[in-house]
């Protein structure tokens, strides 16, 4: 049951309708039933594993978060470590067994040893990386005393299984969600409207733009040697946009779905491609993961408290792990590590940059310098995405080497209309991307387009809403033959 499906919309309609009918104190139970049902429909019996993760989190949370007066520090720490180890082992088994065995095979092959036989493929449970991190975050918060352990097993289950975020996040914090589940909001017209508008924006990002870009990108990547430099470069830019709109689209649909029920989920994106540095990019990209890694990995590693060199090492470690979290392959690890290196380089070169600006007497807040920084940051991130998208280093390096060959005529000789996407769809992408850019810039400046619309006169509002719905329904990439291109992040 993908977010882009009639069945999901029906499911959401039924779930929300019943949600507001059920007495308030039982609503969380209804949400839990709906969430488990949703997950069962997606993963079948793997629901049992989700339950196992919940049980581990529940027990570990209770023990590690129990009062220091009643439980010794050793026991609390033991419960914390046991809980985390169990959860990480579980994640590791499902996500990294194949990767590790491939490494073993490579080593055996290099040493001339007899290789391992064929190993049965392990199915990756949907959303395992997301809910595992969410569960680990909960246990650590209990241990730290940031939150009180949740004694109601079903409420904690809902926190870990909540259907809008179970497949691809945002990776929420118990401190934000559990209080909301304890006191679920009444029906609010404003919440419903905001939620629906956010969902619509998410669908616009996903099925109007991202899924069209996906066709162009996949066409080029599948036969990259057939295309000249500028097409390769455009494909990398398109992928940067695709992955952003795919994931941000998903996040908006998830956040909007919850919002209708009066539940606030944290933001996951804040115009990442308007960042002026890679460090800023990570404060705006996949915010729930970045902040999770900061709070539960970077800071426990020592953060910036243990010296300059250690800080740089910690950054590289955190980003390499972030890469590994995204996918069990060396290309993902390298992608993460590359972002770590970007940031280390940024820190090391900061004095030189400042000196240069001073020497040139340039105003670092001027529009032109901001623009240059945004473009450079985008290009650096764009290079990173090549390793993220390409199946192996060979393809990545080919793309990286050849995409700089300038062949501008491809923009005029209809080459772009021969990349697997009909001409009309390519043309549609242009205004859609313009709309996206304008909205992102307005949001960057703190202007909420949604709020602006809701303040217009009724008839203007209605016309806007109706046109938006019709546009998405008619021009969206959905229906038979649509492979939901699945949301890219749902495979992590």
């Amino acid at each position: 049951m993908q977010f882009v499906s009639l069945s999901f919309l029906l499911f959401l309609l039924i779930t929300i309708s019943i949600y507001f009918i059920v007495p308030k104190k039982f609503r969380y139970l209804w949400l839990l039933i709906a969430s488990w049902g949703f997950y069962y429909k997606l993963s079948g019996n793997l629901l049992l594993m989700l339950l196992a993760v919940t049980v581990i989190s529940y027990i570990s949370g209770l023990l590690s978060g129990s009062s220091a007066k009643t439980t010794s520090e050793g026991k609390r720490k033991g419960a914390l470590i046991t809980g985390i180890v169990l959860l990480v082992l579980n994640l590791g088994y499902f996500k990294y067994t194949g990767f590790l065995l491939e490494i073993v095979k490579s080593i055996q092959s290099a040493l001339g040893l007899e290789g391992l036989g064929e190993i049965a493929e392990i199915i990756l449970p949907v959303g395992i990386s997301f809910y595992t991190f969410q569960a680990i975050g909960y246990i650590i918060d209990c241990y730290r005393g940031t939150i009180a352990p949740e004694k109601n097993f079903f409420r904690l289950s809902l926190f870990i299984s909540f259907f809008p975020q179970i497949t691809s996040g945002p990776i929420e914090r118990a401190g934000n969600m559990l209080p909301q589940f304890k006191n679920l909001a009444d029906f609010s017209h404003d919440n419903m409207r905001d939620g629906l508008l956010l969902m619509m924006w998410g669908y616009f990002q996903k099925i109007i733009i991202a899924d069209r870009l996906a066709v162009l990108v996949n066409t080029v990547y599948s036969s990259y040697k057939d295309y000249p430099g500028t097409v390769l470069f455009l494909a990398t830019v398109f992928y940067s946009l695709e992955i952003y709109l795919d994931f941000a689209g998903y996040s908006n649909i998830a956040i909007g779905s919850a919002k209708i029920m009066g539940i606030d989920i944290m933001k996951n994106f804040e115009q990442p491609y308007l960042s002026e540095s890679v460090a800023e990019f990570w404060r705006r990209w996949h915010i729930s993961l970045s902040s999770w890694l900061r709070d539960y990995l970077y800071i426990p590693l020592g953060g910036n408290r243990k010296g300059y060199v250690r800080k740089l090492i910690n950054i590289c470690i955190v980003f390499a792990i972030s890469g590994l979290w995204h996918g069990a392959a060396w290309t993902f690890v390298f992608w993460g590590f590359l972002h770590g290196l970007y940031q280390v380089a940024g820190i090391l070169l900061k004095p030189a940059r400042e000196k240069l600006l001073h020497a040139l007497n340039a105003d670092s807040n001027s529009f032109s310098l901001k623009l240059i920084r945004i473009i450079i940051t985008f290009l650096l991130v764009n290079i990173g995405w090549i390793f993220f998208k390409a199946p192996d280093f060979k393809v990545s390096m080919y793309m990286l080497k050849n995409m700089w060959t300038i062949t501008p005529w491809v923009l005029f000789d209809k080459t772009l209309f021969n990349l697997g996407l009909p001409e009309a769809d390519v043309r549609l992408l242009i205004p859609a991307l313009i709309v996206l850019t304008i909205v992102d810039i307005l949001n960057y400046k703190g202007i909420s387009v949604r709020k602006k619309i809701t303040k217009r006169a009724l008839c203007l509002r209605w016309i806007t809403y109706i046109l938006a719905v019709l546009f998405i329904l008619i021009c969206g990439v959905w229906g038979p033959g649509y492979n939901a291109a699945s949301f890219i992040y749902s495979s992590f």
Binding site: L6, H189, P422, A424, D425, L458, W462, Y465, I466, V469, L470, L473, I474, C475, G476, V477, W478, G479, P480
Partner: protein
Amino acid sequence: MRKKLFIAVRDILFLILLLCCIIAASLLVERKSSFNKNEMFFKEAKKNHIDALILGSSHVINGINPLQLYEEYGYTSYNLGGYGSVLLSSYWQLMLALDHCTPKLVIIDSYMLENDVRYIDDPNANVSSDELHLNIDRFPLSRMKYHAINDMFENQDKKYAYWFDFIVYHDRWKELDSADFNRFTKDADINRMMGAVMDYEIHSAEYEYVDYQAGTLEQETVGTHYLRMILNTCRDRGIQAVVVTVPFLAMAENQAAAHTADQIAAEYGFPSLNMLEVPGIIDINADMADPGHLNVLGCQKVTSYLGSYLSQTCPLPDHREDPSYEEWNKCLDEYHSELASMTEGNEDLYTQLMMYSLSGSEKTFVVSIRGDSAVYADPTLIRQLRSLGAGEALDMAVSEKCSYLLVSDHGNISEFAGDGEDVYIETAEGSLTYTPASAIYRVLALNGDTENNFLYSDDHAYADVQLLGFSGGNLSSHQYYTCDHFTYDYDEN
């Protein structure tokens, strides 16, 4: 409380408005083929003007012309045949139609009775489930449509696209044209042939119909089950039914299926007409577009035979003089106008000869072939000429590759082969003089006006085939076809 009520009413109004816009958008982007095919059905069903429903596959769409039945017998019928329809889909087509009208007669073609595939979306089914859209889309979502799709499809995901066709058609936004917008106007393009579609092609191969002496099908099939369902429904509702098998190049299994259809019809006490076993209804080499489908010539013959059969077996009311059926007369006039417009000026030689064949009894025309022409090796052309009435002179022309001329004067055929003396042919349009001087140079003059030689001009000296139509005592059309491996270049004076 009042504010809440106001908001609720406002939201409901908004949802109604949104729903209306979505419905309008879905009508705009929908593929118009089903609307085109079935719109007249809804219009006439509403007026209770449909006495007979014709069900079946594309064999029926191309093979039975309701307007001809109306013209010749005054019977009002609607052709609900669907491309790739099997008995399963025909049954549900009937059920959907019965929600909108109650006919006196159902004519059901038995083709694909042997089909034993339970679901239309089964990969082993010999039909494309997409073609069902033609039959289904125009019928509004109803309880019956819900059951129909549920019964015909196994894959739940595929069902949605038939209940809500917007799912498949929304992507047509990039191909919208005036026809799509005319959906909302009176100018909408709809099939005014009462569901039939004429095929104006002829097959190129030479067929021989073989009677395989087949018995009946060895076991019950999904097809026989649904034929029984159709007959049961008719019996329960007091509707007369006729099982027919429209002629085609049937294989042994098809012939057995047709025998089984006879048997099943008999079980229910309904008549059955197996046209595969009625000799002489069609010329299988001239009246078919391909081995399965009749062309316009075949359709005319089959419809005429069927009409005669119905008039004897289960006659229906004659509505020709009924003023409330004026629309049927208009449709008939439009059909005749279309045929008249196609009588001349067809770039495709085969189509042109077919149209001459169709209108031969009302027209004077000449077919001329120059000597040494390669077209004598074109079997399709030779078959068509024979169908027009060519005989020994054509045989001679083919064997000697000499020049050839055929004159058809309202069905009276005269033909000449080779060089020789002047010949005179009296026709309804005047006296023709034909002087075959050589393979290339020949003279054809009307009413002694030898200054105007119709058969020779420097521009078209090497045209292989010339077709000349006469009307009102004058030459009305002159078409030249030059052969290049049986692909004919066309020119016209």
